[in-house]
C-alpha cells in the first residue's frame, strides 16, 4: 500500500481527534475562567461536545472504499478505525453524562478534560498503523486514565486504584515496548502494514518471533483485561470513581481489542496458527476465571469487573475464529457489550448516589423503591447474561457461530458452559433486586435528566441491537473487511 503525500482529506480523517483536542482545550479554558457556578455545567459541555463530535464523525468520517495509510503511514483511515471511534465517542459521551451527578467529580474541569484526552488517545489507538504511533496513542490513553482512576484523593480506595493501575500499566507497557523494539530491531520497520512482509524477509526463527509476540501480547492483554493480566481489574474498578469504571470497562477495553485485532491480523498472519492457539487458551482461561470469581462477589462493581473479564474471553472467541465473520462477531459483541455495560453502570451510579452503597445486598427492595430503575438493571443483567430479545443474546450467538464456522466447536461449548455460570450470578443480582425486602423501600431514587437520557438511550440501543440486529451486523461485517 503506497503512502500518499499530504492531501486535504487526511484532515477529515482525523476530524474527531482535532475536535476532541478543541473540546479538551475548551473545557480547560472554561474551568480556568469560569466561576464555581459555571463549573457545574462542564459535564454538560463535555457530553454535548462529545455527542456532537460523534455526529460529525458519523457524518464526515466515513472511510472510502479504498483503505489508505495517511500522515506518512502513521494512521490508517479505514472502517475498523471509524467504527471503533464511534463506539469510543459514544462511551465517552455517556460517561460524561453519568459523571454529572457524582459529587466528587461533577464540577471538576480537569476531570472532564482528562476524560476527553483519554478518548483522544483511544481514537488514535483505533487508527494507528505504526508501532511508534501506537505506543504514543496507548500512553496518551493510559496516563489520563491513571489519574482519573485515582481522582478522589481523599478516598484510600481510589488512590489505591490509581496507583495499582499505574504500576501494572507501566510495567506491562514497558514489556510491550520491548517487544516493539525487538520487532524493529529485526526488521528495521515500524509500519504495521509492512511488518508482515519484512518479517517474512528477515527469516526470523519462528521461536524468536513467538517470543516477541508474547511480549507484545502482555501489553494488549493488560488493556483488555485478559487472563493472566487481569489482576488489576477488580481493585481498580472498585476504587475508581464509578463513571471511570464504566469508561475503563467499555471504551478502554474496546480500544484494546481494536489494537489487538489490527496488530494480530496485520503483522502476524504468518504465524496465525500459533497465536490463535495461544489466544484460544487465553480466551478459555479469561472466560472461566472471570465467571468463576464473579460468583463470589458481594460488591456490584467487583462483580461487574469480573464479568467484564469474562466478556473479554467471549470477544476473543471471535478473534480466534480467524475469519471475516469471526472478526465481525467480535466487533458486534463489543458493540453490544459496551452499550449494555454502560447501562449497568448507569444504574449502579444512580443507586450509589441515593443509597451510598455498592454492596449487592443493599439493592434489596430496589424493584419496589424504583421499579423503572430495577427494570433497567434487569435489561442490563439479562443482556450481559445473553438472553433475548436483548443485545447480549445475538452477540453471543454470533461469536459461537463464528467458532463453529471455523471448526472450533469445543470453544463454542466452553463458551456455552461459561454462559451458564454467568447467568447464575446475574440472576443472583436480580434476585436481590426483585425478591428481597428492605426497610428503605419507601425512599425513592431520584433520576436527574442527564441520567434519564443515558438510561433511555442505552435501553433502546440494547433492544434495537437485540431485535433488529441486521443493520448492526452489516456494519460489523463491513468493519471486519478492513482487517483482512
Amino acid at each position: 500500500m503506497a503512502i500518499a503525500a499530504f492531501q486535504p482529506f487526511m484532515l477529515i480523517a482525523i476530524l474527531p481527534e482535532i475536535l476532541l483536542l478543541v473540546l479538551a482545550t475548551l473545557i480547560f479554558a472554561l474551568d480556568a475562567l469560569g466561576g464555581a457556578g459555571r463549573r457545574q455545567s462542564l459535564g454538560g459541555v463535555a457530553s454535548l461536545g462529545l455527542a456532537l463530535i460523534l455526529l460529525a464523525t458519523l457524518g464526515f468520517g466515513r472511510p472510502d472504499a479504498e483503505q489508505s495509510l495517511i500522515f506518512g503511514g502513521m494512521l490508517r483511515h479505514d472502517w475498523i478505525a471509524f467504527t471503533f471511534k464511534i463506539l469510543l465517542l459514544f462511551s465517552a459521551a455517556v460517561t460524561c453524562m453519568l459523571s454529572m451527578g457524582v459529587r466528587e467529580v461533577s464540577a471538576r474541569g480537569e476531570y472532564y478534560g482528562l476524560l476527553v484526552i483519554a478518548t483522544l488517545g483511544m481514537t488514535l489507538m483505533a487508527s494507528s498503523a505504526d508501532l511508534i504511533m501506537l505506543y504514543l496513542a496507548i500512553e496518551t490513553t493510559s496516563i489520563p486514565l491513571y489519574v482519573l482512576a485515582g481522582f478522589m484523593k481523599g478516598d484510600d480506595k481510589s488512590t489505591e486504584s490509581g496507583m495499582k493501575y499505574f504500576l501494572f500499566g507501566a510495567l506491562t507497557s514497558a514489556v510491550m515496548l520491548y517487544g516493539f523494539s525487538l520487532l524493529y530491531g529485526f526488521t528495521g520497520e515500524t509500519n504495521l502494514y509492512r511488518l508482515a512482509d519484512a518479517l517474512q524477509a528477515s527469516e526470523m526463527s519462528p521461536w524468536l518471533l513467538s517470543g516477541v509476540l508474547a511480549l507484545i501480547l502482555v501489553g494488549f492483554s493488560f488493556k483488555v483485561a485478559a487472563v493472566p493480566f487481569h489482576f488489576w481489574t477488580p481493585d481498580v474498578y472498585e476504587g475508581a470513581p464509578t463513571p471511570i469504571t464504566a469508561f475503563l470497562s467499555t471504551a478502554s477495553k474496546a480500544a484494546g481489542f481494536a489494537v489487538l485485532a489490527r496488530v494480530m491480523l496485520a503483522v502476524f498472519p504468518g504465524i496465525a496458527g500459533s497465536w490463535t492457539a495461544v489466544l484460544a487458551g487465553v480466551s478459555v482461561a479469561t472466560m472461566t476465571v472471570g465467571n468463576l470469581l464473579a460468583l463470589a462477589q458481594k460488591n456490584i462493581k467487583r462483580l461487574l469487573a469480573y464479568s467484564s473479564i469474562a466478556h473479554a474471553g467471549y470477544v476473543l472467541i471471535g478473534l480466534v475464529a480467524l475469519s471475516q465473520f469471526g472478526a465481525a462477531s467480535m466487533v458486534f459483541y463489543l458493540l453490544a457489550y459496551v452499550v449494555t455495560n454502560l447501562l449497568a453502570f448507569a444504574v449502579v451510579i444512580l443507586f450509589a448516589r441515593s443509597a451510598g452503597s455498592e454492596e449487592i445486598a443493599d439493592y434489596a427492595g430496589l424493584s419496589r423503591r424504583a421499579p423503572g430503575l430495577a427494570l433497567a438493571l434487569l435489561v442490563a443483567m439479562l443482556s450481559l447474561a445473553g438472553m433475548p430479545p436483548l443485545a447480549g443474546f445475538v452477540a453471543k450467538v454470533y461469536v459461537f457461530a463464528a467458532a463453529v464456522q471455523s471448526g472450533l466447536v469445543w470453544l463454542a461449548f466452553v463458551g456455552v458452559l461459561n454462559a451458564i455460570v454467568g447467568l447464575y450470578y446475574y440472576l443472583t443480582v436480580l434476585k436481590v433486586v426483585y425478591l428481597y425486602r428492605s426497610e428503605h423501600e419507601d425512599k425513592p431514587v431520584p433520576v436527574p435528566r442527564s441520567y434519564a437520557i443515558a438510561l433511555i438511550t442505552c435501553v433502546v440501543a440494547v433492544l434495537l441491537i437485540g431485535t433488529l440486529s441486521g443493520p448492526w451486523l452489516q456494519w460489523a461485517i463491513t468493519t471486519a473487511t478492513s482487517l483482512f
Binding site: 424493584s367 419496589r368 421499579p371 427494570l375 439479562l382 438472553m387 433475548p388 430479545p389 443474546f393 445475538v394 450467538v397 459461537f400 457461530a401 463453529v404 464456522q405 466447536v409 463454542a412 461449548f413 456455552v416 458452559l417 454462559a419 451458564i420 447467568l423 447464575y424 440472576l427 436480580l430 434476585k431 426483585y434 425478591l435 440486529s469 441486521g470 451486523l473 452489516q474 461485517i477
Partner: protein, 490 residues
C-alpha cells in the same frame, strides 16, 4: 391469508404485558382486568386459528416470512401445521385459565402478569417458528421469565433453589442445542436458518448421529426426559399456581416440540439411530415417574411427578417413529397440557384454602367444593387413559405405535398406566373424600366463580376431545404424517 394472524397471536401477550406495566402498580383491579382481556383476546385468536386452519389442505398455513438478519439467512418465518396448531390453542387456553386462577395474587400483580405474558409470547413464538434462529430466540424468551415468576411469587420454602435450578437446567440445555443448530447451519452449506430448507439439507449419516443427541437432549431437558427431569418437580412445586400450570402445561411441551421439530425432523437418520435409547429413557420416565408420584405425600409433588411420567409417553410416541406413535404424542402433548393445568389449578385452589399440601392432613374436600372434586376426577380419568376422555385418544395410539415398534417397551410402559390409576385414586380418596380434619372444618371456603370457570373450561376440553376425537385427532395425524415422511416411512 392477508391478516398476519400468527404474528398477532405471538405479539399480543408481550405487547399487553408492556402496556400493563404502564398502569400504576396500586390499581390492582384494573391490572387484573387488563390481563384478563389480553388473555381472552389471545385465546380467541388461537381458537380462531384453530378453526380457520384448512384441514383439507394440511401443511403449513398462515405462513408469513420476512427477512430478519439477511447476512446469516435468518428470517422471521411463521406458520403452523397439524402438530403445532393444537399447541398454540393449548397455550391460549392455559394463559386464559391461568389469569383466572391468579386473580388473587396481591403482591405486585402488575409485574406478575407482565412477566407471565412475556413468557406466553415466547411460547407462542416457538410453536409457530419455521426458522431455527427464531425458534431459539423465542425459546430463551420463554425460559427466562420463569425464574422471576417462581423466585418472587413462588412457595417460600424452596422457591430460590427451585427457580435457579430450573433456569440453569433449561438454559444449559438450550445452549447445547444452539451449538447443534449452528453446526447444522454451517454443515448444510445452505446459508439459511429456515427449518423447511434445512429439512431438505440431506446431512450425512455420521453428522446426524453425532449431533442428534446434543440437539435432542438439549431440548428434551425441558421436556423432562430422564435423567434430566430433576428440575421439573421442584420447579412445579415451588411455582405459583398459574406458573405451574403454564410450566407443566405448556413449557414442557415446548421442549418436546422443539426436540421434535429440530431433532427428529432435521436429523431423521440420527433419530433412527438413537431411538432405542430414547425409548429406554422414556420408559423409565413413565414407570419411575409414576412410582415416585405414588409415594409422595405432598399433593403438588404427586402432580409434578405425574408430569414427568406423562411426558415420558410423549417421548415414547416420538421414538416409535411411526404414524400412530407420533399422532398419539401430538395428542398427548395437548391432552396432558390441559390435564396438568387442571391438576395444578385444583392444587392451587385447595392449598389457598387449606394452607397445606400434605396429603395426610387433607380430606373431605368434596363436601365443600364438589365441583372442584369433579374437575379433578375428570382430570384423573383423563390421565389414566379412560375411554371418553382425551387421555385415551392420546395414549391408545401411542401404545399402538409402540406395539408396532417395540412390543416389550409397550408392555413395560403399560405398567405406568396402572400405577397412574393407583396414585390418582389415592389422591382422590385422601383429599376429596374421607373425613375433613377437625381444625379445617368450617374454615374452608368454596372456590370462587373465576376458579369454577377456569376448571370448567379445562375439564370440558378434556371431555370434548375424548368424546369427539375428530375435533383434533385427524389434524394431529396430518402433522404426524409430515414428520413420518421426513423420517422416511416406517
Amino acid at each position: 391469508m392477508d391478516f398476519p394472524l400468527l404474528t398477532v397471536i405471538v405479539f399480543t401477550p408481550i405487547v399487553s404485558g408492556l402496556l400493563i406495566l404502564l398502569i400504576p402498580g396500586e390499581r390492582k383491579t384494573e391490572i387484573r382486568i387488563a390481563a384478563l382481556a389480553a388473555a381472552t383476546f389471545a385465546l380467541l385468536l388461537s381458537l380462531g386459528a384453530y378453526i380457520i386452519y384448512d384441514r383439507s389442505l394440511g401443511g403449513y398455513q398462515f405462513v408469513q416470512i420476512f427477512t430478519w438478519i439477511p447476512q446469516l439467512g435468518i428470517s422471521y418465518h411463521v406458520g403452523v401445521d397439524g402438530m403445532s396448531l393444537p399447541l398454540v390453542l393449548l397455550t391460549g387456553i392455559v394463559i386464559f385459565t391461568g389469569v383466572l386462577i391468579s386473580w388473587g395474587i396481591d403482591d405486585r400483580p402488575r409485574e406478575f402478569f407482565a412477566f407471565l405474558f412475556v413468557l406466553a409470547s415466547g411460547v407462542f413464538g416457538v410453536f409457530v417458528s419455521l426458522d431455527l434462529f427464531q425458534l431459539f430466540f423465542f425459546y430463551e424468551i420463554a425460559v427466562f421469565p420463569m425464574y422471576l415468576l417462581i423466585a418472587i411469587w413462588g412457595w417460600q420454602v424452596t422457591r430460590e433453589y427451585a427457580a435457579m435450578k430450573l433456569t440453569l437446567y433449561l438454559f444449559i440445555g438450550s445452549l447445547v442445542a444452539l451449538v447443534g443448530g449452528l453446526a447444522m447451519y454451517y454443515t448444510s452449506g445452505l446459508g439459511t436458518f429456515d427449518l423447511l430448507a434445512l429439512q431438505e439439507a440431506g446431512f450425512s449419516t455420521a453428522f446426524q448421529r453425532l449431533w442428534f443427541p446434543f440437539v435432542f437432549f438439549g431440548f428434551a431437558v425441558l421436556g423432562g426426559i430422564f435423567p434430566f427431569h430433576n428440575w421439573s418437580p421442584d420447579g412445579h412445586v415451588a411455582a405459583p399456581t398459574a406458573v405451574s400450570m403454564f410450566h407443566a402445561g405448556v413449557l414442557m411441551k415446548l421442549g418436546a416440540f422443539a426436540a421434535l421439530r429440530v431433532g427428529f425432523m432435521l436429523l431423521p437418520e440420527g433419530a433412527r439411530f438413537w431411538s432405542p435409547l430414547i425409548l429406554g429413557l422414556a420408559t423409565v420416565n413413565v414407570v419411575y415417574g409414576a412410582f415416585i408420584a405414588m409415594v409422595q405425600t405432598d399433593f403438588k409433588y404427586v402432580i409434578g411427578f405425574s408430569s414427568v411420567s406423562h411426558m415420558g409417553l410423549v417421548m415414547l410416541g416420538f421414538a416409535t417413529l411411526n404414524r400412530e406413535g407420533l399422532t398419539g404424542a401430538g395428542l398427548q402433548m395437548f391432552s396432558h397440557g390441559v390435564m396438568t393445568a387442571l391438576f395444578f389449578a385444583v392444587v392451587g385452589v385447595v392449598y389457598d384454602r387449606a394452607h397445606t399440601r400434605d396429603i395426610p392432613k387433607l380430606g373431605g374436600f368434596s363436601k365443600v367444593m364438589p365441583l372442584v372434586a369433579v374437575a379433578f376426577i375428570v382430570g384423573g380419568l383423563a390421565s389414566m387413559g379412560m375411554p371418553g376422555f382425551s387421555g385415551f385418544i392420546a395414549e391408545f395410539p401411542i401404545f399402538m405405535g409402540l406395539w408396532k415398534a417395540q412390543p416389550v417397551v409397550a408392555l413395560i410402559a403399560a405398567l405406568g398406566i396402572v400405577i397412574t390409576a393407583a396414585y390418582i385414586m389415592r389422591v382422590v380418596g385422601r383429599v376429596f373424600f374421607g373425613k375433613m380434619p377437625a381444625e379445617m372444618e368450617g374454615h374452608i371456603s368454596r372456590e370462587t366463580a373465576l376458579d369454577r370457570i377456569a376448571l370448567g373450561v379445562l375439564a370440558g376440553i378434556l371431555i370434548l376431545v375424548g368424546v369427539v376425537p375428530s375435533v383434533m385427532a385427524p389434524l394431529v395425524a396430518s402433522g404426524a404424517d409430515a414428520v413420518v415422511r421426513l423420517l422416511g416411512g416406517a
